[in-house]
């Protein structure tokens, strides 16, 4: 559990957050520090321990596949940054010149 490979610029790319040079440096130090703290988990013998994703009884949850009320379209569209008629407007993703 070493943190020497923490490449903040690469992780920021994966997370789609543009960082300034100052942020790359500051977050790099702070997250390296945190990874040092979480490295204590290496002390625990966990080989035979199952992972816990959720603590209370869990089961598949299904519902009947039928028509039902949905959120009001106008209200939902009003929360989007850009719209065009009944649609959310997004930058072009196909056929860029």
């Amino acid at each position: 559990m070493s943190s020497e490979n923490l490449d903040i610029a690469y992780v920021a790319k994966l997370a789609r957050i543009a960082l300034t040079d100052e942020e790359v440096e500051r977050f790099g130090t702070q997250l390296g520090d945190l990874l040092g703290h979480v490295a204590t988990l290496a002390d625990l013998d966990l080989d035979s321990i199952p992972a816990t994703a959720q603590v209370v009884e869990s089961r598949n949850v299904v519902r009947e596949d039928c028509e039902r009320d949905s959120l009001d379209r106008e209200k939902v569209l009003a929360g989007a940054p850009q719209r065009q008629g009944a649609f959310i407007r997004v930058p072009r993703i196909i056929g860029q010149a």
Partner: protein, 494 residues
């Protein structure tokens, strides 16, 4: 006459008995908010018009013969809970102007019980923080010392109830975000079992940990709010389909026959003599009420923080991926979609949210997933097993809620020192257990001028909310610590 000093239980009784109207209650609350909000800053928005209209509608129904368990109770709603037609910001620039198109189930349940939302409460951005200082949209101060933080992330919720701007506040708790601000603001803060209250309409932070709960000035009020909100909801696939027993009518006055565990690993000596004395006295008081104090062990307690700061950021990085400039709130344009995403998220998120997304993305990334995320999930199993074993020897566990009283603004500049604030609350969250903080005494911090409250954290096995609230009520009634000191803002007429 409408007296906002009353508890929620007393308000509901008076409104149902038509001794005062819901409208009078809300008018008095709005006067109070106008008077103290410039000092406290608990709310990001005040719902003045809606609250008065709701009160009039409720009064008409009461006049027609209906009765409500929380009739006319002024309610603060943490700003990560959707309330139809209200701006719901999560304390973030990302959602600064986003209007919720529906109402969260928990809020809906409170409305059905007769509570009236008076404002949306400030919070650490996306519920990440322990002081409310991570809000991008406002400063909230602790009513008991305006130079100190109210705690977080439900800091606005706590401050509003402490300053009598609401009788009940809804908060959300992922690693301590209800219990810690409740302890800092002399309140009861209750996180029920994971899955007991629907999270539909709660903007997600860490889905395997998040739970909604109330912050109140008494255990009885917390029980009333819990009774209104607990139960299965088909809209939340993780809500538990299991019968809920009402708690409010089953509160106790003594603790005979109850075994209360004290955790060997939670050594309160290291918190300083004043704080140690408060927790020592709390144990004596529990014993005097008839409880048997037994020592229990949580050998993995010290690993809780490390486990939490992998699991919660991992889930947060996944949940917050939806804020991409397309569907909700902010968009900053770029030459292509990727640049639009990157610029939007750079401008919309504050530093703590960015840190957690980055650490979570790293922990989930190819090559590190097993070493970090899976390892943390396995450690989580050990934490849950420790509690299960401890509860073979006791019925409840007593522990500090926090390692100190409320601290001064900007005194925890290093992120890890802020994370340590949740040392005592995180293990219970990892295990999904119901836990609450109840006022247990006062200390005057070094360099401080005013006595500040501390909280005793009581924890119960999964789904044992009823004995938990019953015991907390007995302790509260016997000690009455909350009433011993007042706030720094103008006191309410009693």
């Amino acid at each position: 006459m409408a007296t906002i000093a009353k508890s929620a239980a007393e308000i509901a009784r008076a409104v149902n008995a038509r001794e005062c109207s819901a409208r009078e209650m809300i008018d008095a609350t709005m006067d109070r908010i106008a008077a103290v909000e410039p000092q406290v800053g608990a709310f990001l928005s005040v719902l003045e018009r809606q609250a008065r209209e709701s009160a009039d509608a409720l009064d008409a129904r009461i006049a027609a013969g209906e009765r409500f368990p929380l009739a006319g109770v002024p309610l603060a709603v943490k700003d990560n809970l959707a309330l139809d037609g209200t701006v719901t910001t999560c304390g973030s620039k990302m959602l600064e102007r986003w209007v919720a198109p529906y109402t969260a189930t928990a809020v809906r349940s409170m409305l059905a019980a007769g509570a009236i939302p008076v404002g949306k409460a400030n919070m650490d951005e996306f519920a990440m923080g322990s002081s409310c200082e991570n809000s991008a949209l406002g400063v909230t101060r602790n009513p008991y010392d305006l130079h100190r933080v109210p705690g977080g992330s439900s800091g606005g919720s706590a401050a509003s109830v402490a300053a009598h701007e609401a009788a009940i506040a809804l908060g959300s708790d992922t690693g301590g975000s209800i219990r810690e601000p409740a302890a800092f603001c002399n309140l009861v803060g209750f996180k029920p079992t994971y899955g007991r209250i629907s999270r539909y309409g709660l903007i997600a932070f860490a889905s395997s940990l998040d739970q909604i709960g109330p912050l109140t000035r008494s255990v009885e009020d917390a029980a009333l709010a819990y009774d209104a909100m607990a139960g299965f909801d088909p809209m939340d696939a993780t809500s538990v389909d299991r019968s809920v027993e009402p708690t409010a009518g089953t509160l106790r006055e003594d603790l005979h026959g109850l075994r209360i565990g004290v955790v060997k690993q939670f050594d309160t000596h290291k918190l300083g003599a004043d704080i140690d004395d408060v927790y020592d006295r709390a144990l004596h008081d529990l014993e005097a009420l008839g409880a048997e104090i037994v020592e229990v062990e949580l050998p993995t307690a010290d690993y809780g923080l490390a486990t939490y700061y992998l699991i919660a950021p991992a889930e947060c990085s996944s949940n917050l991926a939806r804020f991409d400039g397309v569907r909700y709130g902010l968009r900053v344009d770029g030459v292509d979609v990727a640049e639009m995403n990157e610029r939007t998220r750079a401008a919309g998120f504050g530093p703590e949210v960015k840190r957690r997304i980055l650490i979570g993305t790293y922990a989930l990334s190819s090559g590190y997933y097993d070493a970090y995320y899976v390892r943390a999930q396995k450690a989580r199993t050990l934490v849950a097993r420790d509690f299960a074993k401890a509860f073979e020897k006791c019925d409840l566990i007593a522990a500090p809620a926090t390692s100190s009283p409320a601290f001064r603004f900007q005194s925890k500049s290093d992120p890890y020192s802020m994370y340590l604030m949740d040392y005592y609350t995180i293990p219970m969250s990892l295990a999904g257990l119901p836990a609450l903080s109840v006022p247990c005494g006062w200390v005057t911090p070094e360099g401080g001028e005013r006595p500040m409250p501390l909280g005793l954290q009581l924890t119960a096995p999964l789904f044992a909310e009823r004995p938990l609230l019953a015991a907390a009520h007995a302790y509260e009634r016997a000690t009455m610590h909350a009433a011993k000191h007042g706030t720094e803002v103008v006191e309410v007429a009693r």
